[in-house]
Symmetry: C2
Subunit: 171 residues, 2 copies
């Protein structure tokens, strides 16, 4: 089964992201807006118990995540993904690194650039038009996220939460 680890921002910020996603994001209906902390990986029923315990112990070390969605950016030309840039704090980088090292499942495909995707699978022309508009609108939202989620994927591509972990620590 395919799992991932994400942080869902507040309803307010998810609603804002969805105003764009419903028009521009091909994954709109598969999962609600989120920050990916660990990209999709394979695990069986046995492994997921160990993984779940590891994530629980990591979550106990971290306090609520202070996040700042500071502007609308794009991964172009690597991919035509447009996103809310989340300022890469030490806290986020450390959390990402702890998850990566302690789970020890595969290498990350990319450098960790915390973000909330709002558009993807656009043609180059669409990307140019839409990014041109959205970067002018921008985003500036600050909040805290007090939990992270271990999610799994169904055959149709949609994601369901397997478990939530409150961030109850001090890091």
């Amino acid at each position: 089964m395919k799992y991932g680890i994400v942080a869902f921002p507040s309803k307010r910020l998810q609603d804002l992201a969805n105003t764009y996603r419903k028009r521009y994001d091909s994954h709109y209906s598969k999962i609600t807006p989120h920050i990916t902390l660990k990209e999709a990986f394979e695990a069986d029923d046995h492994e997921i118990n160990r993984i779940s315990q590891t994530v629980a112990s990591i979550a106990q070390n971290y306090g609520p995540l202070a996040i700042h969605a500071s502007r609308i950016s794009s991964f172009f030309p690597t991919t035509n993904v447009i996103y809310f840039k989340i300022e890469p704090t030490e806290q986020l980088k450390n959390l990402h690194e702890d998850i990566q090292q302690q789970l020890n499942i595969g290498q990350p495909k990319h450098v960790f650039i915390p973000h909330i995707t709002i558009a993807q699978d656009l043609t180059e022309t669409e990307h140019g038009d839409i990014f041109g508009q959205l970067r002018m609108v921008g985003v500036d939202e600050q909040e805290t996220i007090d939990r992270i989620h271990l999610v799994y994927q169904l055959e149709d591509g949609s994601w369901t939460t397997y478990e939530t972990f409150r961030l109850t620590g001090a890091k």
Copy 2:
């Protein structure tokens, strides 16, 4: 904010339900297949803490839910909803009643008939055709569900998990 309490069945049973839902269920993209334990209710940030604690204490009393999706049934003529009937065990009835009484938020709109919706918002003709086909196909799946989820709704109608509760008791 609007909250609800649900139990997600296994990936296997969710995938099976989705083979029908993608064609026949207007809510297909809003939430993955589930058994509703408490219908949508309003709560603010303050109330949800108390509610979350109450659900946690209930979940500690119950063991994993033994469920049996035994046939494909319909709420017609009350509504044109077609569903996997989940056999109404004492365990499910007690869990539903504990949630209802201890949360004490609104009266249930219907008698509790545990089910997984696979079709809704059909015309009467569509309902007749599709139910005629599906009741012959039927369903017969048994499994256990070891956790329940408190979920909240975004403005676009989609649901995100707020918290998961493992069923770690003996009831």
